[in-house]
Amino acid sequence: MRFTTPDGLRAWLDRLAQEIDLIAPTDVDGHALYRPVSSSDEVLLDYERPELSAKDYLLPATEVMLRVEQRGSSVTIEEVLPDRKQVLFGIRPCDAHGLAVIDALFLEQDPPDRYYRHHRERTVLVGMACTRMWEGCFCTSMGGGPMDPTHLDVLVRPGEEGFFLRPVTPKGVAILEGLEVTEPRGEPLPVEEYNEPVPVTEPAKWRPLFGDRIWMRHGERCLSCRICTYVCPTCRCFDVTDRVVEVQPGVTRIERIRAWDACTSTNYRRVAGGHNPRPTKPERLRNRFYCKFCYYPEDFGPLGCVGCGRCILSCPVDIDITEMMRDVAERSGG
C-alpha cells in the first residue's frame, strides 16, 4: 500500500497524461463520464459511478477494423490497430469486472478477438474504490464489491487526507513508478452504505422458466431502444458495416467498421430473406437476461452482469433487472 497526497496524485496524473493517453472520470455538463483528459485539473476524484461504462476504450462504440483501398483491380487491406498505451484512471471496480466478463469470450475463447486483445494489452486499469453503493448498485450480489481489486492493475482508495494505492499486477507496479509517496496520514475511507443484496439464480434453474409469463409482463413495455445495452459494461455484441470514405478517379477508399449492437433491437437477427427468429419484444428482452444469467455463464464461465445498475437508471420504461432477478428467484424456488 502506498500513500500520496491529493497534490501528489495530481502530479502523477499530469505526468501520465504527458506520456500516454489518460482516460479518467471528468465532468461533462454535469455528468461524470470516462473521457480522455490532458491534465489532472479535469480529473474528478470524488464522483459517483460514471454514467457510461468504460468498455468504449477497449471495445469502442465505433471502431475502424480495416482500411481497404481499391486501385483499379488491385485491392489492399490494412488492419487498424492503435498502439499508444492508455491508462484508465478512476475506473470503478464494477467496470473492471465488466471487462473481465468480456475477456471470457473475447480473449479466452478461440480465436481471440484481435482488436479487443490489442486494446486490452495497451491499457492499464487504475481503479478507484467506491465509498458507498449508489442507487441501483448491486455489485456485491454479482461477485464484486465497492473495493474489489480483483480485475484491476491498481486499486486506489480515497482516504481522509490523501489516497492509498495498492498495485495488484506487475503492470500496476510499473505504472506507479514516478508516484511521489509519503508517510501515510489518516485512514482509508470505509464503505458507508451497502445496498440490499439481490438473489442470483443459478443458470440451470433459469431453463424451466423460459416459457414463463414474467417475460411477457416485463417485455411488453420494452421500447427496443437499446439503452440498456449501450450503458452495460458487459454487453459486447457488434455489427460490422462498410463505409465508403473517399472516391477519386481510379481510387476508392473504404473503411470496415464495427459498432455496438443490441440483441433487443428489432432487426438484430433478421436474415436477408426476411426470416426473424426472435420477432417479438418479450422474446428479445428475455434473451438479454438469459444471455447474462444462463447462456453466458454456461458457455464461457462468468455471469454476464456485474451489478452496476446503469440499465435500471437509464431504462425509459423502468424495466429493472433486479426485479427480474427477484421474479426468477421466486419462481424457481430460490
Binding site: E79, D239, D242, R269, R270, C291, C294
Partner: protein, 275 residues
Amino acid sequence: MTTSSVYAPEMARVAAVRPLTELEKLFTIELPDGRSLGHAPGQFVMLSIPGVGEAPISITSSPSRSNGAFELCVRRVGDVTGALHRTQPGGWVGIRGPFGHGFPLEQMRGKDLLFAPGGLGLAPLRSLINQVLDERGAFGRVIILYGAKRPAELLFRDELEEWAARDDVEFHVTVDRGDESWEGHVGVITTLFPLIAVDPRNTVAVTCGPPIMYRFVLMELLGKGIPETQIYLSLERRMKCGVGKCGHCQINDLYCCQDGPVFTYAQIKNVPEAL
C-alpha cells in the same frame, strides 16, 4: 494484404458466373496462388464486397471437385448479394473462412443417405451430395428428394438430370406449382416421402430449407422412424463475424457459426429458438 486476423478477408477472383434461375447465380471463386479453400461440406464463408459489406454464404461445391476453386450459389436478396450479382468474371470479392461445423462425413460412411433439400437449401447440400457421389462405394443407398416452388426455381438442372439418370441414386423432384412445360410431380416436398421406404436405423437424413419446411419434413423423417441423432439440418442465421463473437447467430446457448450451422435434430429439438 497479408495479415493474421480472422477479421481481414483475403481478396479472391471471381473466375466464372453462371445464372441458374431468375434470382440465383453460381459463382466460381479462386483464392490467390491456386490455393484450395480446404472446406468440408456444410461449412460457409464470409463473403465481402468492399464498400457494401459482408454476409455468410454456404459453400456449394464439393471438396472432391475443388480444382483450385470453390463455388457459391447465391440468391439476390440483400445488399451484399445484390452487389455480388453485379460482379463480372474477373472481378474480386473478399473471402474469410471456411467457418463452422459441416456434415459429419465419417459417420455417414456405410449408411443409407436420405437428402431432402428444399429450394435454395440445395446449395449447401449439393456440396455433400457430390462428395458422396464421388465416393459412391463408401455409402449405402443414396436417396434425394428435392422440392422447389416452381419449375423455374429448380437449381443445377444439369446435375439434377445426371442424378436422375444414375441407377445408384434414387432421385425424386417436385414443385409446389407446375407450369405447362412441367410433366413431373406436383406438390410440396412432403408429398415425395410416401414414394420411398427406408431402413430407419441405417439411414442418415440431411435436410436444408426454409424454416416452415423443417417443421413438416421433420415430421416425415421422424414418421419413418429415423432416429433424432441421425437427422441433420443446416440453419440460416444472421452473422457478422463467423467466429462466435458478434452475437447475431446465437440460439440460446448455441452459436450457429461455430456450433453449427449443421446440427442434429437431437441437438436442437429442445432449443426453443432454433427452428
